[in-house]
């Protein structure tokens, strides 16, 4: 097999972004794409919608069926890469094949964490929830064993999305969170409380400040869990949604530098020439702090892939840094969070407005005269304007008092900033 100029390991947001990035510069150069999962590129975040029955399998694909063909991509799906040999410039697959590469992109995403200190995880009915197949397995288990009660370990985004899916299926669910509040990474106490209220209104049990120590089984199948404080919860299924870590197993032992993820520069290059990394597996700079840390968010992954692909093909895109951001609908409560959301240290200023009755909360976090973070609960339209102000590091001193008003919009911004948007083709600074 002839050596393709571009080889991508992975098939999700970063990989698809990379294909787009390559094709921006090189419309023809063949691309080889190798992915462990046998599916056409699909939208990972949709798995909770699939489980909950909000979408069916036909809506899972992330790109049209002719995506690979149209982009001259040779897709090797269902093939697991076991090793990268940087010296020989080739990768080895599980079935022993060796594939030479010219420029390589590692976009293998993250793996779910299963805490080692929980006993009983070998029982049937214990799942992690990150892939399409996970959703299928869970669906099958629910049907076969007529599951009525579940415990979800982890009150973060993945945990709550799985909770929502289970609620859709009418399954009584309890979510167990180690931190003192759910969504502790993305939300402050107020927002977290509103989210919790929404869950509890939907009949979900929420337990914070504790975790599962032991999973009980009966006849080899899950029958309940025991929390750290000794409380027992009966259930027939457990889902681990504690988090994902970058899947760096593939580069273990190789010369490619890693920290928590594969370290990359602003062109998505790793420490080894010709090898790039993008997406949840990579560790790139945070836009606000400048520090490198993994920010496993869908739009960041796509953008990193775009930059990587573009650069692999000889373009000159740069990654401007990742921004932590999430949009999640929690049992009907719309929420968006961006950047630094908890303003504990000095030097940060938080502006907030809260209406408990309608569960509408708005928070803007400022550092000096620039916005560095925001939370929107209940009313989320136009949140992107704030995201834009964060990204472009716009000074808000002239209109700080308008930020929380109900009709905050482009009209609140100085006309110099918005004129390109209203009368032109986009925001320019």
């Amino acid at each position: 097999m002839s050596k393709a100029p571009y080889t991508i390991i992975g098939n999700s947001a970063a990989a698809v972004g990379a294909v787009a990035g390559i094709r921006e510069v090189d419309p023809d150069g063949p691309i080889t794409l190798i992915a462990k999962e046998p599916h056409h590129t699909y939208s990972r975040p949709l798995i909770s919608y699939l489980l909950g029955g909000k979408v069916d399998e036909s809506r899972m694909p992330y790109r049209p069926p002719d995506f690979y063909e149209k982009n001259n991509v040779r897709a090797m799906l269902g093939v697991e890469v076991t090793r990268i040999d940087a010296d020989k410039r080739c990768i080895e697959t599980a079935d022993g094949t060796s594939i030479e590469y010219d420029r390589l992109l590692i976009a293998v995403g993250g793996t779910p964490i299963v805490p080692l200190d929980v006993t009983g995880t070998d029982a049937e009915g214990v799942f992690t929830f990150t892939t399409w197949d996970d959703a299928r397995h869970i669906q099958r288990y629910i049907e076969t064993h007529e599951v009525t009660r579940t415990v979800v370990i982890g009150g973060g985004l993945i945990g709550l999305k799985s909770v929502e899916a289970l609620v859709e299926l009418g399954i009584t669910t309890t979510v167990v969170e180690l931190a003192d509040r759910i969504l502790s990474v993305t939300f402050d106490q107020t927002a977290s409380d509103l989210a919790r209220r929404s869950l509890e209104k939907a009949g979900v049990g929420v337990r914070c400040g504790t975790t599962v120590e032991r999973i009980r089984q009966q006849g080899g199948k899950v029958s309940g869990v025991v929390l750290r404080d000794g409380t027992e919860l009966a259930c027939s299924m457990v889902i681990f949604a504690v988090g994902v870590v970058p899947n760096t197993r593939i580069v273990n032992g190789e010369a490619i530098e890693t920290d928590r993820g594969i370290l990359v520069d602003d062109c998505q290059r790793t420490s080894v020439d010709g090898i790039y990394a993008a997406g949840d597996v990579a560790q790139a700079a945070d836009m606000l702090s400048g520090q490198k840390r993994p920010i496993p968010i869908f739009p960041n992954a796509y953008r990193q892939g775009l930059v990587a692909g573009n650069h692999m093909a000889g373009g000159n895109r740069r990654y401007e840094g990742g921004l932590a951001m999430n949009a999640v609908d929690i049992c009907g409560l719309k929420t968006i969070s961006v950047g630094v959301t908890v303003a504990d240290d000095d030097g940060y200023e938080a502006l907030t407005s809260l209406d408990e009755d309608t569960a509408v909360y708005k928070k803007i976090v400022l550092k000096g005269d620039r916005i560095v973070g925001a939370i929107f609960v209940g009313q989320i339209d136009r949140a992107g304007i704030i995201t834009g102000l964060i990204k472009n590091a716009v000074s808000v001193s002239g209109f700080k008092d308008l930020l929380l008003t109900e009709h905050f919009g482009l009209i609140s911004l100085p006309s110099e900033y918005r004129k390109h948007v209203v009368s032109g083709t986009g925001i320019e600074i």
């Binding site: 947001a13 972004g17 939208s43 990972r44 975040p45 949709l46 919608y49 909000k54 979408v55 809506r59 694909p61 992330y62 790109r63 049209p64 869908f298 739009p299 796509y302 953008r303 775009l306 951001m325 999430n326 949009a327 999640v328 609908d329 719309k334 968006i336 961006v338 989320i380 339209d381 136009r382 949140a383 992107g384 304007i385 995201t387 834009g388 990204k391 472009n392 009709h407 919009g409 482009l410 009209i411 609140s412 006309s415 948007v421 209203v422 009368s423 032109g424 083709t425 986009g426 925001i427």
Partner: protein
Amino acid sequence: MKRIIAREEYCLGCRLCEIHCLVQHSKSKKLIKVFRSEERRAIVPGVQVEQSGQVSFAIQCRHCDEAPCIEACMTGAMHRDPDTGAVICNQDKCVGCWMCIMVCPVGAIRSGDERHVASKCDLCMGEEVPVCVANCPNEAIICEDDDE
């Protein structure tokens, strides 16, 4: 490609653009019928007028060359129409995750459609002139063609 531009010095804040956008994207496309039915609250117009005192302008999707919403969309519902170059939301594919709303620097995408999907300007696909442009009484909204 066509670009819609609003000139705030001529905008009256009359909101006829919003009305016509709503009707254009309704089922019956009949003005009185739409407004007397529940459809009026079920659909969200792609163009909305921002107003503060005497300053006002209509704002809709910019159909950006580098569209952050397309990058953020996790289902692939946001895509670029190859013929017109417009950024279109395939509302059948959209699940209402609101990532697009989170990243749109213009705030041009809205939730609120009763189907729980994202709503935004689609350049009135299939029409010669977008209806907001055609119906602005003071020609505050105009359509320019990049290619010309």
